[in-house]
């Protein structure tokens, strides 16, 4: 179907009705199964790691593994890897705001013991 000039599929920024949209990348079940297996493997790893006594490193590893699994799910299961830049920025904004909530509130709790008040 020939589209008139206004509706070019190319990702030109000024084409406002149809800005850089998803490239309609179909993720095959095979790719999904790779992700599936990686998630299961990492669940096993995190459980196994919990039984090792690594002192301060335990929570760090647990969070790292959980974040890695979350990133995989977002990229492949939720197709974020194939979405437009806008969707990626939205995801980024969400986690950024969560980090703002955590770090700035923690800044109060951490520094309570500093001053003599």
């Amino acid at each position: 179907m020939a589209h008139e000039a206004i509706h070019t599929d190319a990702n030109d920024a000024s084409n406002v009705t149809n800005p850089e949209h998803a490239q309609h990348h179909i993720v095959t079940p095979l790719q999904y199964s790779f992700v599936f297996i990686t998630l299961l493997v990492f669940t096993a790893i995190t459980v196994f790691a919990a039984y090792l006594d690594l002192h301060w490193a335990n929570p760090v590893i647990a969070l790292a593994i959980a974040s890695f699994k979350a990133v995989i799910v977002i990229l492949f299961f939720m197709h974020a890897a194939y979405q437009s830049r806008l969707i990626k920025m939205t995801i980024g904004a969400g986690f950024f705001m969560f980090l703002v909530l955590v770090t700035m509130t923690m800044s109060d709790y951490i520094s309570r013991a500093w001053g003599l008040w």
Partner: protein, 558 residues
């Protein structure tokens, strides 16, 4: 076209022959169901306008009762807990049921799709759901009121709200929880519409500043409101389970609730003021016939306010025992967030330069906004500086500050917007002289009400007191007098706008000769807004383009 009168730019069609367009969004479907199940963003805006006015007058009634009680130092009008229920209801209704939704849900809903050249918002059904959630939230708040009231203050301070009160805290918390989702869905709708449904040629910097400020406010709605939701859920759980994260006797930290609550409630004040700023940009540009001075500066300062708005919440908690060092950080960031507002005020002022200014009612409200918002904003700097906050927090200085910004700023802007777009929404003109009287009355009443409260604040009169030392009485009597004038001032628009629906002059497409896309279509607009998707080929506020368009239109059709 009548001879160009010098004192006004209002150009109405010849009233003897002009009549309302045959088909428009108000009359193309009839019956209650066509309104209650509508997807049309314009009808939802009208539904919101009616419900918001209803709640505004209930909240205003409580304000009146509070001011009556404060006429005398003795607690002689009502009992203590009744007074506490008054100011709690005044706070909850005014903030969650009037200020947060007012401009976005009425003017924003009505205008953003048209200003972007779209047929409707991205998700019409979710827009309707947002109105129903607002209604459920409102009814639950009234239920809490009727069942016996809630006296936690709109801030739900724990451990008071969780362990030491047995009033209807749960009902009120559920009401706000649901009304919060109404705000989230409105914000979500706006962001998607602004990103994905602009007409061809409508780049980001050709959009009106009204849309920019709603975009910034919507970011705050979407990202901030859920944290209030979880704070209220935790309060509710703690009331039910008896143990929770905020109970100091069992190891919880009540300051955690303050953090979670103010994380939303400070961005909430920017949710309330940013849309008002959008209205002011439109009004000042139209009535000075000039493009807003430093368009990109005003646009970026809206987004800057939205971004910085998230980093400053702890200035509500400076004396609550937060660590001195984090208070330093948040005080500095509070100073930074004040700068974009200053940028906006000066940009609006310089828009008037070399303009061709007329003084219709929206412009009067806009000037009222400029003055009062400047005072409100600068008194905010008082409270942002740590030392000053120690003496001024939790006194009437704070009450005066946020009423200057919310009532002087936001409500003035809302009234400016309602009067400015009334012809577009209803096809009828409001009566000019009576509305100017109302604007001046509200301005005088407002100042008489809230300026004395600054002085009371520095004297140290605490907030939420219904009995005070006798030496504060004079200022309180002045404030109550002002409140009555203010009440009258707000009653007038209700009357003459209602009157104008039937008897107002026929407005025609572009009574103000404004440049926005919404002024190029008929008023009231057809349901689909545009016959064909418009193509935006000129900059925002392009008065030369408008000149050219009206010229060749007259020649071709004439």
């Amino acid at each position: 076209m009548s001879a160009p009168a010098t004192h006004t730019i209002l150009s109405l069609p010849d009233q003897s022959t002009a009549k309302m367009p045959k088909r428009h969004y108000l009359n193309n479907e009839d019956g209650l169901l066509s309104w209650l199940l509508t997807g049309d963003h314009k009808r939802i805006a009208i539904l919101y306008l009616i419900s918001i006015t209803f709640f505004f007058f209930i909240g205003g009634a409580f304000a009146g009762l509070i001011r009556l009680e404060l006429l005398t130092p003795q607690p002689d009008l009502v009992a203590a807990d009744t007074y506490n229920k008054f100011f709690t209801m005044h706070g909850i209704i005014m903030i969650f049921l009037f200020l947060v939704p007012s401009v976005p849900a009425t003017l924003g809903n009505f205008l953003i799709p048209i200003m972007l050249g779209a047929k409707d918002l991205a998700f019409p059904k979710i827009n309707l759901l947002s109105w129903y959630l607002y209604l459920i939230g409102g009814t639950l708040t009234l239920a809490a009121l009727v069942l016996g009231g809630v006296d936690t203050g709109w801030t739900f301070t724990t451990p008071l709200s969780t362990h030491y009160l047995n009033t209807h805290v749960l009902t009120a918390a559920t009401a706000i929880f649901i009304a919060g989702f109404s705000s989230i869905f409105t914000g979500l709708n706006f962001i998607v519409t602004i990103h994905r449904m602009r007409c061809p040629g409508m780049t980001w910097f050709r959009m009106p500043l009204f849309v920019w400020s709603h975009y910034a406010a919507s970011l705050l709605m979407v990202l901030g409101t859920p944290v209030l939701a979880i704070a209220l859920v935790l309060v509710a759980l703690e009331r039910i389970a008896g143990i929770g994260v905020f109970d100091p006797a069992k190891g919880g930290d009540p300051l955690l609730f303050q953090h979670l609550f103010w994380f939303y409630s400070h961005p909430a004040v920017y949710i309330m003021i940013l849309p008002g700023m959008g209205v002011i940009s439109e009004v000042i540009s139209t009535f000075s016939r000039k493009r807003v001075f430093g368009y990109s500066a005003v646009a970026f300062s809206s987004v800057a306010i939205a971004l910085f708005g998230f980093f400053v919440w702890e200035h509500h908690m400076f004396i609550m025992g937060v660590s001195n060092y984090s208070a330093l950080v948040f005080s500095l960031l509070t100073m930074l967030v004040a700068v974009p507002s200053a940028i906006k005020i000066f940009n609006w002022t310089f828009t008037l330069q070399k303009g061709s200014i007329t003084f219709e009612t929206p412009m009067l409200y806009a000037f009222g906004f400029m003055g009062l918002f400047t005072i409100g904003g600068l008194t905010g700097v008082f409270l942002g500086s740590l030392g000053m906050d120690i003496h001024l927090t939790e006194t009437y200085f704070i009450v005066a500050h946020f009423h200057f910004v919310m009532v002087g700023g936001m409500l003035m802007a809302f009234l400016a917007g309602v009067h400015f777009w009334w012809p577009k929404m209803t096809g009828r003109m409001y009566p000019e002289s009576l509305s100017k009287l109302a604007a001046v009355t509200t301005f005088i009443g407002f100042n008489l009400t809230f300026l004395p409260q600054f002085i009371l604040g520095y004297l140290g009169m605490p907030r939420r007191y219904h009995a005070y030392p006798p030496e504060f009485q004079v200022l309180n009597v002045l404030s109550t007098a002002g409140a009555t004038v203010l009440g009258v001032g707000y009653m007038l628009p209700l009357l003459y706008l209602g009157w104008s629906l039937k008897y107002g002059a026929i407005a025609g497409n572009n009574p103000w000769q404004a440049t926005g896309l919404e002024w190029q279509i008929q008023s009231p607009p057809i349901t689909a807004n545009f016959i064909e998707t418009p193509v935006m080929d000129h900059e925002a506020y392009d008065y030369e383009w408008l000149e050219k368009k009206t010229l060749n239109e007259v020649t071709t059709v004439g």
